[in-house]
Amino acid sequence: MHTDARTLENGSLIEGDLCIVGAGAAGITLAREWINGGRRVLLLEGGGFDYDPRMQELYRGESVGLPYFPLQAARLHYFGGTTGHWAGFCSTLDPQDFEVREWVPYSGWPITRADLDLYYRRAAPILQLGYDEWTAAEWQRRDPALVPFALDPGAAWTKMWQFSPPARFGTLYRDAIVGARGVHLYTHANVVEILANEGTTAVDSLRVRTLEGKEHRVRAARYVLACSTIQNARLLLASNSRAVAGLGNGHDLVGRFFMEHLEMPSGNLATLGNKPPSTQMYAFVFGRTKARGEIALSAAAQREHRVLNSTVALAAAPLAEQGRSTFEWATPDVVDKMRVDPVVPEDVAASAAVPRTFHLLTRQEQAPNPASRVTLSNERDALGMPRARLDWRLTELDRRSFRGFYEALGRELGRTGIGRLQMRDWVMEPPTAPWPKSLGGGWHHMGTTRMHPDPQRGVVDANCQVHGIANLYVAGAAVYPTAGCVNPTLTLVALTLRLSDYLKAR
């Protein structure tokens, strides 16, 4: 069922068993799990079914740290959320991403990779991935032309990615949600405050506003925030009627540990030999490639060199040209075009020549950093809610890891005779040097309500429940304690499925 909240009588009370705030990848995934479940599920979406600049304007915020995308361009505020312009890149986190790494401050999840295996399998079809296959060997069996580099697995390996068409949840799941029994979607229902009970031990209700000036109240037994990493933090911080510092923020952690993926051109590769190695495994054509490999250091090598987790993507190109970071090529205009136009597979002229030179695009996790944070601005939006202020900050470990990664990878590529690796000048600069102009992320937002069993070290527990708030949960990449080096969507869908199972079992 669907109701436009603008059509409700002002001051309406909406009641249900489970209330999901936000209809993006996490919110829609969760709602789908509860169709025909015998419960009254409320799915609240601030926007409508179509892109609306007035809704996007609600996401505008300040950026006071390192240069960042305009916040209102980085996330989409309508049914389907940011899947409306995502590029469909999917891969799984690695086992070491979940472990405490003594050289990575604040690392470690309260769950393991094995805890997510089942949910990755369930998440794959939701994102329209053809196969739950994540090893180079499996993909080589499927297509013998995909030959991974012969690397020592103790040093480096080929990490597989799959590419969603990309799945646009707004069109893909709209009919299923609108026609669902047990799920009631409310569009144009912007939650502006979470109202806690007197002891701030549970959520009593939500205040919902429309741009047209109506205000409603939503009450449910349990609530799940699924409105993106920055907006989840903003909503918790702005919910300060009873908790002055914001809800769930008794230890000043909400909004901290904001993380991105550093996606930057960092070097070049020249393959060697009379018969250079096949690189088809690593090739990518947007809209055509189903799976490809990127090269990563082994967990042991990361430990030895005390570096963050990274992968490197190969793009065949002359050395004389300069590669561009995701920030440099995926400008807001380009990303908006991905929302407006259907994805058309690139036409690539077939070439018999095996490429020998490549640009290397690194995808590196950002080290968890409490100073990298989302707070509230003094400015308010049209609904009267304080805007978000992003202070994106990096550490020396982020900078040093690039060089450590490239030196270790360069040695392995040299030892195996595959080729020689060249680092860009900024990679070789001291870790205290300023970041180069090519500094960029992947439009990925993680952290701000990190998961930790100790309320003094995390906002949510291992089940994604906000510490100290009995009926409030967070779904999405906001709960990631560390970012891994892969795009967040697959994992956030997997975590949402896990949260759904937990909620059903309670």
Binding site: G267, N268, A270, T271, L272, G273, N274, L319, R356, T357, Y406, E407, G410, R411, E412, G414, R415, T416, G417, G419, R420, L421, Q422, M423, R424, D425, V427, M428
Partner: protein
């Protein structure tokens, strides 16, 4: 010991071309003044061969094997951003002397 001209053919040459290899070689010479002539470079490469190969000619490894062994044991140098084996950097230096 191989002659200087055959040593002055680093595997990199096909991938990067003569100009880039020459620039790398000149940079290496500037970084390593003790190896700033052809004889010194030849000896430096020869001295990096295993003892049995140097004195008994046994199992004399191909230059490419020396290069890969450098990478395996961390005998590397960064020149113009390229992570190179010390042996191949010496090859590049020889190339910079001997190419016209």
């Amino acid at each position: 010991m191989a002659d200087a001209r055959s040593l002055a053919r680093p595997e990199l040459l096909a991938a990067l071309g003569g100009a880039a290899v020459r620039a790398i070689g000149e940079r290496y010479r500037a970084m390593s003044p003790a190896e700033a002539d052809v004889a010194a470079l030849r000896h430096a490469i020869d001295d990096s061969r295993p003892f049995t190969a140097r004195f008994f000619g046994a199992g004399n490894p191909h230059i490419d094997e020396l290069v890969r062994d450098d990478f395996a044991h961390g005998r590397t140098v960064v020149i113009e951003g390229w992570l190179l084996s010390v042996t191949e950097a010496r090859q590049c230096a020889l190339y910079s002397f001997l190419s016209v």
